[in-house]
């Protein structure tokens, strides 16, 4: 079971994970990661932009690599685009496998690549001192790149 999606509306991870788990009969384990918009001081909203010809094809290519690298029965990879408020889910990756290590590592692998090597651009709407708000682009973090380097062996 392979389910790779970009969504432009809010989603409920539980409604995806239940059917995904059911669809992989005979699995030994499922690992799921859900990323949400953090409640950071002054952050009112977050917006993710994508580039249609690259973003979803890039997620499919990442899924292909996960299936090559780990022994998986199924992989669910769902990523939001558009505007989100604190507390809303941004990303959900779930992997089903016969053995836990494949499921856990596949999710870790996909998340590290989604964070630093997938075609998304993120900006935050932050409150300013005069009571208004402004958008700020988020620069890539060094930590994301060192996380990615873990998989280069």
């Amino acid at each position: 079971m392979r389910d790779i999606r970009l969504l432009d509306q809010m989603f409920l991870p539980g409604l995806l994970i239940g059917p995904f788990t059911q669809a992989n009969k005979g699995l030994g384990g499922v690992c799921t990661f859900v990323g949400e918009v953090r409640y950071d001081e002054g952050v009112e909203a977050l917006e993710l932009t994508h580039y249609e010809p690259l973003t979803l094809p890039g997620m499919h290519a990442l899924a292909d690599r996960a299936f090559e690298r780990f022994t998986l029965m199924g992989l669910l990879m769902v990523h939001r685009v558009g505007q989100m408020r604190p507390g809303e889910p941004i990303v959900c990756v779930s992997a089903a496998a016969l053995h836990r290590r494949d499921a856990i590592d596949a999710v870790d692998f996909c998340m590290d690549h989604l964070k630093s090597a997938a075609w998304f651009w993120k900006r935050e709407k932050r409150a300013t001192q005069n009571g208004e708000s402004e958008w700020h682009w988020i620069e890539p973090r060094e930590q994301d790149h060192s996380d990615l380097a873990r998989w280069e062996s």
């Binding site: 932009t49 989604l114 630093s116 997938a118 075609w119 993120k122 682009w137």
Partner: protein
């Protein structure tokens, strides 16, 4: 233009006229864009795609009529 490059351009897309007798190349592209954007583009982290295909070397860009050139700043997703 994606991400902050759209802010520098003050637009998400720009239509450019083609040179009369040859394809549009990298220097021609920069000359045709707003200067704030053009100055940012030589940053090696900025990638370029034509019609959805990434260029291995953006300096060798050759674009013709109807081609879509995407200017892609460093990503920040997840």
């Amino acid at each position: 233009m994606l991400g902050k490059l759209a802010d520098l351009a003050q637009a998400a897309t720009i239509d450019l006229p083609l040179p009369l007798s040859k394809p549009l190349d990298w220097e021609g592209l920069k000359a045709a864009l707003p200067s704030a954007l053009a100055e940012a583009l030589d940053d090696p982290r900025i990638r370029v795609a034509i019609n959805g295909a990434l260029l291995p070397n953006k300096a060798k860009l050759q674009a013709g009529a109807g081609d879509e050139i995407a200017l892609l700043p460093p990503v920040s997703g997840g």
